[in-house]
């Protein structure tokens, strides 16, 4: 491949790249995010299973809780090195030392902007403080990594001077942060190469994503001989965040063929855990871990995927523990929709298929995302003769009450195959109560449990549409999902569960018929 020879010719690629994960430090600095010490520990254990080399557990000078979390992680017996951040100030370093970590990551700003406007210090003073700090850490027998904050806006000669000074003082590794995310790969490559040629300890990179270039800059730095990458899960962090662990791990593996300690299969799981605990949502189009990263709707793409996934996927989703998804919709072609129906166990004639594809496109033209449930109902309508004509479960009546002094309660009547069932349940909220009442009634006909409940974010007014997706699993471990879209959040949740329960029943009867 062309890249291999280019890399050999133009680059000084290291044998192995080390991942220094700062999800718990720079990632937690994401505005609005705050993790409990136990949550930090849970993430740290997962990062250890993922195989990162170092875990930056926190910035102890921030707060007592931050110190407690760092101490907890340092004492958890992880394989990864546990590190803590400290300004080049003795008080900060003492707090880091008190957490019993294995490494102190100490930093001071080196750009003229920061020297003048933030620190009010001369270059000489900055070097002196950096050197004293490194010596202080090393005097305590710990590993020490030194960062020159805002390195990419620092005079390149001064940058080399301060790195040389701290290495002489005993720094084990030096780090080049692109603090405000203004580096460009082509220039960053030269900046990093200048450092790796002059500085004889491992060089780390810490890139921010303000222009969307954090991953590319990190890779350009690896091409220039950097051996360590500062990363965060899902690319969270200050402002637009840090370089994303998952994108770097995958591209080093798949494109560069460089060794890392990352167990790729744990990537998806790690991503979901961090999103859940930090509350930072993952956009569906997020590379590697987004919901759509391996999803296909358009006809040309699903056709390709069906004949051979490598036509439209750079790598199979299983590599990172994710999964492939074919989606019905206006862009879907005949082959894709046929494959989706077949996966549900439904066999069609050519004319039935044409009719279904036409109706799917009509729905899409009306601005509707076509769910699997829609596809099912269209199938039902088009193949009337062989499929049951109506939904077996219908909501006949529902009343939900909640309030400040009221236990949320739902009372409902359902018709199942025309026969009326009633139930009343309370819950911790109105939706929870309603779902319990439905489960109570429908449980007699088909056993299922709710495995996922997802309410999409609502922005705008209190009268915006609520969009609920639920996933149910029956006792044969088959899952179905369905959606409810209403202006009333409670009704949207109820609609989704009833739609899904109907689909489960339909799936049973239809697969029996078409396979007969």
């Amino acid at each position: 491949m062309a890249l291999r020879s280019l890399l050999a010719q133009e680059c000084t690629l290291p044998d192995r790249v080390y991942f220094y994960d700062t999800t718990l430090r720079d990632g937690e600095q994401t505005p609005g995010v705050a993790l409990l010490a136990e949550e930090k520990l849970e993430i740290a254990r997962q990062l250890d299973a993922l195989g990162v080399d170092s875990i930056e557990a926190g910035f102890p000078a921030t707060s007592k809780g931050e110190q407690e979390a760092a101490r907890l992680i340092a004492g958890a017996g992880l394989k990864a090195e546990v590190s803590a951040l400290a300004r080049s100030i003795q008080k900060d370093i003492d707090l880091a030392l008190s957490c019993n970590v294995g490494c102190v990551h100490t930093f001071i700003a080196t750009s003229d902007i920061h020297l003048k406007k933030k620190l009010g210090m001369s270059r000489e003073e900055v070097v002196q403080r950096a050197v004293e700090s490194v010596e202080y850490v090393k005097a305590h027998g710990l590993k020490c990594e030194f960062s020159a904050e805002d390195a990419t806006r620092t005079d390149p000669d001064f940058l080399i001077d301060i790195y040389e000074a701290v290495v002489k003082a005993g720094a084990d590794r030096i780090d080049i942060p692109d603090t405000v995310g203004v580096a460009v790969p082509r220039a960053f490559f030269h900046l990093v190469r200048n450092v790796t040629e002059r500085i004889k300890v491992p060089v780390a990179l810490h890139c921010h994503d303000d222009m969307g270039l954090a991953v590319a800059n990190s890779l350009a730095g690896v091409e220039a001989g950097a051996q360590e990458l500062h990363v965060t899960v899902n690319g969270i962090g200050e402002r637009a965040g840090n370089a994303s662990l998952e994108e770097l791990a995958l591209s080093l593996y798949a494109l560069y063929g460089v060794r890392t300690g990352i167990n790729l299969k744990e990537i998806y799981e790690t991503s979901r855990l961090v999103s859940k605990l930090t509350g930072v949502v993952i956009a569906p189009n997020k590379s590697v871990v987004g919901d759509n990263a391996f999803a296909h709707e358009s006809g040309i793409h699903t056709d390709g995927i069906i004949s051979s996934p490598d036509t439209y996927e750079p790598l199979p989703p299983e590599i990172v523990g994710h999964e492939r998804k074919l989606v019905a919709g206006k862009h879907a072609g005949k082959h894709g929709i046929d494959a989706m129906l077949k996966e549900m166990g439904l066999i069609l004639t050519k004319s039935q298929l044409d009719e279904i594809v036409g109706r799917v496109k009509d729905l899409g033209d009306k601005g509707r995302a076509v769910t699997e449930t829609d596809l099912f109902h269209i199938f039902e309508a088009v193949t009337k003769s062989t499929a049951p004509e109506k939904r077996r479960i219908e909501l006949s009546d529902l009343v939900v009450v909640t309030g400040s002094k009221t236990t949320p309660t739902a009372t409902l009547k359902l018709l199942i195959d025309g026969k009326e069932y009633k139930a009343s349940e309370f819950g911790i909220g109105p939706i929870d109560a309603a779902l319990k009442a439905i489960q109570n009634v429908v449980g007699d006909v088909t056993k299922f449990k709710l495995v996922d409940f997802k309410l999409e974010a609502i922005t705008g007014g209190s009268d915006a549409l609520a969009n609920v997706t639920v996933k149910l699993m029956d006792n044969k471990r088959r899952t179905v999902s369905a959606k409810g879209v209403r202006e009333d959040i409670v009704m949207a949740g109820v609609e989704a569960v009833i739609n899904a329960a109907n689909r489960l029943l339909l799936l049973n009867s239809l697969t029996e018929r078409t396979s007969a």
Copy 2:
């Protein structure tokens, strides 16, 4: 700057880069997205105001609605060129022509993988079809852009052959798509340079973001002389999406100093419109347009921002129509919290400030994101002598009823300054009804309107926490926001509005006192 001389030395940068926006075609192919023709037109008008050079309005062969939308946009009198996609098939091109667009973008796959596994065609057949298609478009007097699908996995010599053939046939521009997102900037630069040196029409790039490198690859291609970039707003599109318009526009402006037609100030607005109409959420850490792209919480960063924003921001947020946000939280330092309180009109003594900072950090250590309302309450508690001691509005009782045959209704009792008020209202959902009832009662004391209601996505079970943020505006056009977090969605919404209303009242009385 080092980059400038590098670019002059190593690159062949064009004078101006043209933006070919495919939000309405590749962007709409995002699985699960479907836009109405009128919505597409609304986005097209905004793209025109933003200053893109070409708008790919759709893929007419997909559906009738797709044709209608393309026709609508082509006839809207926009400044931008309007283009439509067509496979290298006469039927597709005829449908594109029927939409009265100014340009047809025709494509055929050229990689061996696609030839063997998808098309079942030889290279010769592919070239013939490509040439015939271009000739057919040109015979109708339209502009024609040709894409060699999966170019980055195509034999480089064959790639040049087919481009030479279509240019000879009259193609006005040729496009290099990285269809499955496997390019690396260093290699892509050479691939593109090889094409720009050999092909004498403008060269376009169409990059996908599977490894997070779409933007970097596009920039590397520009360094190699490409003049046109295929982009989408918010980087939506197939799988992990396309190169993001906003990241490319900003980096070309700020880092490369290359001219484009983009009116940067319209970026934020455009991004929100596309997110609203497509339903594809923007992660808070999305570069340039995410909620946090210009937000700061940590003490070191807010300190810097307060003394000079360029310490921790690559560019001021106003450039793209976004805004700066300082956030209270465990990482916040003294200066940041002082600045936030001052912005609310509150002046403190040093010891009061120390006490407040300590309490903010304690809340953060408990895993709590600290909202402005929290900050307010802490201020209240710490400065007891000068501030009112309690909230003026308290919820005394609330009952909400909804259901399948019930109009959602809320009845509530509020205590305002200890006096009881009652109201009952109906709405389109239970939250809407409750908010109307609150507005009804509180409107007597202070005039406000609800300007934003945001419910964060809930994933997990129906018993997950609901997190509602509301923004209210009073008649002096001051806005406050507040949060409600409850297991009961309805109660979370009510709590948020009451918190915000209290803040409005508090803001009035406190600013009067401290400025006195």
